[in-house]
């Protein structure tokens, strides 16, 4: 029971190109998040959303934008991909404030 899926799961792109990662949830959860995982840094928050069209920046938001036009979809866009954005990206969701956060399976992005 995934409940939350990410696409694409793997992508290789060239420096300077825009990239969009999609997160889709079927749980009608209010909160959605984008994290990136890098060695030695654990998981760092990029952006989050607390409702449709309500988003805010996280710890490492530079170079990223997000959109949430529907409850179920949360898009992460790299406006002009750089090699430093090579990472594993995890989408996550939570039903409400104080609830556990559940993660998707990750999207592996390589910028060459």
């Amino acid at each position: 029971d995934a409940g939350i899926t990410q696409s694409p799961r793997h992508k290789v792109t060239e420096t300077g190109t825009p990239v969009t990662l999609r997160c889709h949830q079927t749980e009608n959860h209010r909160y959605m998040y984008w994290y990136r995982q890098d060695p030695g840094h654990g998981l760092r928050l990029i952006h989050y959303s607390y409702g449709v069209k309500d988003t805010d920046k996280g710890e490492v938001s530079d170079g990223y934008s997000v959109s949430r036009s529907k409850t179920e979809d949360f898009l992460l866009t790299l406006e002009s991909a750089t090699s430093s954005q090579t990472s594993v990206y995890f989408c996550a969701m939570a039903q409400g404030r104080g609830n556990t956060i559940y993660f998707g399976e990750g999207s592996w992005l390589t910028v060459v």
Binding site: G42, Y48, Y50, F90, G96, R97, G98, T100, F103, E105
Partner: protein
């Protein structure tokens, strides 16, 4: 500056013995702590949590201890099994956190040897 730290990047334990994973935090506004487990090529999965009003929470083989005065928590796994081999992330959430966000440590890779 990292607000949540896991100072041991890796830990190796024999099957059947106890695994102890440690986590330190600096932000006194954190009031809820969680442990996530992550296998390669998968997303993190929630394991166990503890509120700051408690000092211990147990779930089967997993127990989390919280020492607020030391700003330290630990995850005990007893007995350890080879299937427990994974990366474990400590995470914390603060009061007045409107976004329900978590701050994560860097992770500890646990290897349980048969």
């Amino acid at each position: 500056d990292q607000q949540v730290k896991q100072n041991s990047p890796s830990l190796s334990v024999q099957e059947g013995r106890i695994s102890i994973l440690n986590c330190d935090y600096t932000n006194s506004m954190f009031d809820y702590f969680l442990w996530y487990k992550k296998y390669p090529a998968e997303g993190p999965t929630f394991l166990i949590s503890i509120s700051s009003i408690k000092d211990k929470n147990e779930d089967g083989r997993f127990t989390v201890f919280l020492n607020k005065s030391a700003k330290h928590l630990s995850l005990h796994i007893v007995p350890s099994q080879p299937g427990d081999s994974a990366v474990y992330f400590c995470a914390a959430r603060g009061t007045n956190n409107a976004g329900n966000m978590l701050t994560f440590g860097g992770g500890t890779r646990l290897m349980v040897k048969p």
